[in-house]
């Protein structure tokens, strides 16, 4: 009697554990977007690896999914966010995904290490990196960096700093690079003299923080802002990368690439014309930022993309050469270099984006962003 009851309890306990495990099997499944749902037409599955968590920086891709642009092109696109340790260009080179979003200097490093990748669309035409210091710090330009505590996230995000310093003839080994966290607390608390900040994210984080002295939010006047776009260190950022070998030999991949780029272009045009909706779409896609921060992000990202005089995504050879020159000249604080020789000619190609733009020509779309007007975004405390 006693024994059988104990056995029952054991079985009950095991069943409980099994239920827990099974609930693990089913629960996260429901949250995976874009599974199945292929209509009458057979859609080509495509995986796109982002550089970071879903956020306004990638609004155009989420808009292209939400607005059905990918589906119109016969694609079923799965957008894969990155976490701390997923390097987009590595995932692409390994064949885990079909396309990846990554900064140009980081991929140049990977290409020199042997990755065979091609930049097929330069979405961001300008660099969005800033170096922010306090207004009274005396750091007004890159020339003032020597001997200072300079913040950076590392992982290849630091090369613009060193390229800009190299262009000024400064000794990069005098700076102390402090690795920045996900937020601006280290700067706000004085551990960093000049912190790295993206126009679309960390700079907004500062402007969302209450100033303990006044009780009001910090204002732009409180900071000195150095924009790398104005320096020799400016490097190209968010670009779409593809597998070089497949681009050369796989016809299906070539067609998919053009179709993919067409939908991406439409997605970014949508984000330019409807920043509020694009921001909401991004939040619905799993971005955790508050509405005001997200909208700021979409708006600032738009400013980095538009106008694109040659058409969105077309790689400006001068900007590419400047990026390569910067990457070649940059020496980091421990004396290491990003690349030592020019990247191969296959590292970029305007062939695919040009084909996509040509196919979109008659569609009454503003492909160069002539009529683009940024909006005014008012940031709320905490970005909420």
């Amino acid at each position: 009697m006693n024994h059988s009851r104990r056995r029952l309890a054991t079985i009950g306990g095991l069943a409980f554990a099994a239920t827990l495990a099974l609930s693990a099997c089913s629960a996260p499944n429901d949250s995976v977007p874009g599974e199945g749902g292929s209509g009458e037409r057979e859609l080509t599955p495509v995986k796109l690896q982002l550089q970071w968590l879903p956020q306004g920086q990638f609004a155009g891709y989420f808009a292209a999914v939400d607005q059905g642009y990918f589906e119109e092109e016969g694609l079923d696109v799965e957008i894969i966010p990155s976490g701390g340790d997923i390097v987009p260009q590595d995932a692409l080179a390994n064949g885990d995904v079909d396309y990846a979003i990554a900064w140009v200097p980081k991929v140049l490093g990977s290409i020199e290490q042997g990755a065979n990748l091609t930049n097929i669309a330069q979405i961001f035409q300008k660099s969005g990196t800033l170096q922010v210091s306090w207004a009274d710090s005396g750091i007004d330009s890159v020339a003032d960096f020597e001997g200072k505590k300079i913040g950076s996230w590392g992982f290849g995000n630091e090369w613009e700093i060193f390229a800009a310093m190299a262009a000024e003839g400064l000794d990069s080994t005098t700076v102390q690079i402090i690795t920045q966290d996900f937020n601006m607390n280290a700067f706000l608390q004085g551990d960093i003299d000049a912190a790295q900040a993206m126009t679309y994210n960390e700079y907004a984080q500062l402007l969302e923080t209450p100033n303990p002295d006044t009780g009001e939010l910090y204002q732009p006047e409180d900071f000195n802002v150095i924009s790398y776009e104005d320096t020799e260190g400016a490097m190209l950022q968010d670009a779409i990368w593809a597998d070089t070998e497949r681009l050369e030999s796989d016809e299906e991949y070539q067609d998919t690439t053009v179709a993919f780029l067409k939908a991406v272009v439409k997605g970014w045009i949508y984000a330019a014309e409807n920043p509020e909706q694009a921001s909401e779409i991004t939040i619905a896609a799993g971005s955790g930022w508050g509405p005001s921060h997200e909208l700021w992000m979409v708006n600032e990202t738009n400013k980095l993309i538009w106008p694109s005089p040659n058409g969105i995504g077309v790689i400006d050879e001068a900007a590419w050469d400047k990026t390569v020159a910067g990457a070649l000249s940059a020496v980091n604080e421990s004396g290491a270099r990003l690349i030592t020789e020019e990247p191969p000619a296959t590292a970029w190609s305007n062939e695919w984006i040009q084909r996509a733009l040509d196919e979109l020509e008659g569609d009454d779309l503003d492909l160069t962003g002539e009529g683009f007007e940024p909006i005014e975004v008012e940031l709320q405390e905490g970005g909420n």
Binding site: A24, P28, I80, N183, Q189, G288
Partner: protein, 325 residues
């Protein structure tokens, strides 16, 4: 069942079992007033401990220097600013508020709770795999000495592989696994990493437990002409329980840590690891918010360890003593 030990039985409660209870206590009658009082005292002490933490936090925040304590260039005590150490009531109050100003936003506590549940499910799956693999390895190692010599160093070595190197590889492999209708899901990579951390203490604890019966007992079984399986079921498994339970609890804690870190590492959406970094990015403008997921992770660990304690209740007749794994 078989009474293998010579030590006296005592009803060990779960809280007491956290530390090896080697003392011999007079058996208590279950359900007596003493037990109720003891249960109450345990809760009271638990709450008192929590209160002490709150008091230390607020006390240091009130009296500590704003810039923390720096010794030889290294900060040994944190800053006391609101940015670094929000008030306890602010952190708790923030939990009740919506995550963002968005009209569809849920309260922070609910978001944290849902994320914690997702992670708990993944960790539970990883833990179960860890139990199967760990106990399986222990059985093999106990059965064949040569297997112990051959496998044990590898098990120890396996834990020296840093997660940061391991996680992308697992994710990369996973994205290529597709067998028939079965397609590898991203959460499975996370569960696999959780199981990788969980199986280690379980394998070691189970092996130690299976080897724990004294020679006199195994020889007794031999004199009964009991075979390997009979000895295993009647002697070794019951004897392994006191070693296994702490190992399972360690495994559960490892599985939770593994799941959270692997979520961050692989960028899995929906779990507590994800909102941990998401809200950390918002900690400049909203310092209290970043603590929400941290509390969630703590509760998660407690729930995981508590679930294993439930197993201990079921197996209480085998728990004469508890050895640290």
């Amino acid at each position: 069942m078989t009474d293998t030990g010579v030590r006296e039985t005592s009803a060990v409660t779960d809280a007491a079992a956290m530390t090896p209870a080697r003392d011999i206590r007079p058996p208590r009658r279950p359900g007596g007033p003493g037990r109720v009082r003891r249960g109450f005292a345990q809760w009271a002490w638990g709450l008192a401990g929590l209160l002490v933490v709150v008091l230390v936090w607020e006390g240091y925040k009130l009296l500590g220097p704003a810039d923390g304590v720096v010794v030889g260039g290294a900060r040994v005590l944190p800053r006391t600013t609101d940015l670094a150490m929000p008030h306890v009531w602010e952190m708790i109050g923030r939990l009740a508020e919506p995550v963002t100003r968005s009209p569809s936003a849920q309260p922070l506590w609910l978001v944290v709770a849902l994320a914690a549940l997702t992670t708990l499910g993944i960790a539970a799956a990883g833990w179960l795999v860890g139990v199967v693999v760990g106990v399986g390895l222990a059985l093999v190692m106990q059965r064949w000495r040569i297997a112990e010599w051959g496998i044990l160093p590898w098990i120890v070595l396996s834990q020296t592989v840093p997660l940061i190197a391991f996680a992308p590889v697992v994710k990369s492999w996973g994205s290529r696994v597709e067998i028939g209708a079965f397609e590898w899901q991203d959460w499975m990579s996370v569960a696999l990493i959780a199981s990788y951390l969980a199986f280690f203490p379980i394998a070691i604890g189970a092996l130690k437990g299976l080897q724990s019966p004294d020679r006199i007992h195994t020889e007794l079984m031999q004199s009964y002409a009991a075979g390997y399986w009979q000895t295993l079921v009647k002697l070794r498994l019951p004897a392994a329980v006191p070693y296994l339970l702490p190992a399972l609890r360690l495994g559960a804690a490892n599985a939770v840590i593994g799941a959270v870190v692997a979520e961050v590492s692989t960028g899995l959406q929906g779990g507590i690891g994800r909102i941990l970094i998401q809200f950390a990015g918002q900690a400049s403008g909203d310092p209290a918010k970043a603590w929400g997921p941290i509390f969630g992770a703590i509760v998660l660990g407690l729930v995981a360890a508590g679930s294993v304690a439930l197993l201990g209740v079921i197996l209480k007749d085998y728990r004469r003593t508890e050895e640290a794994a």
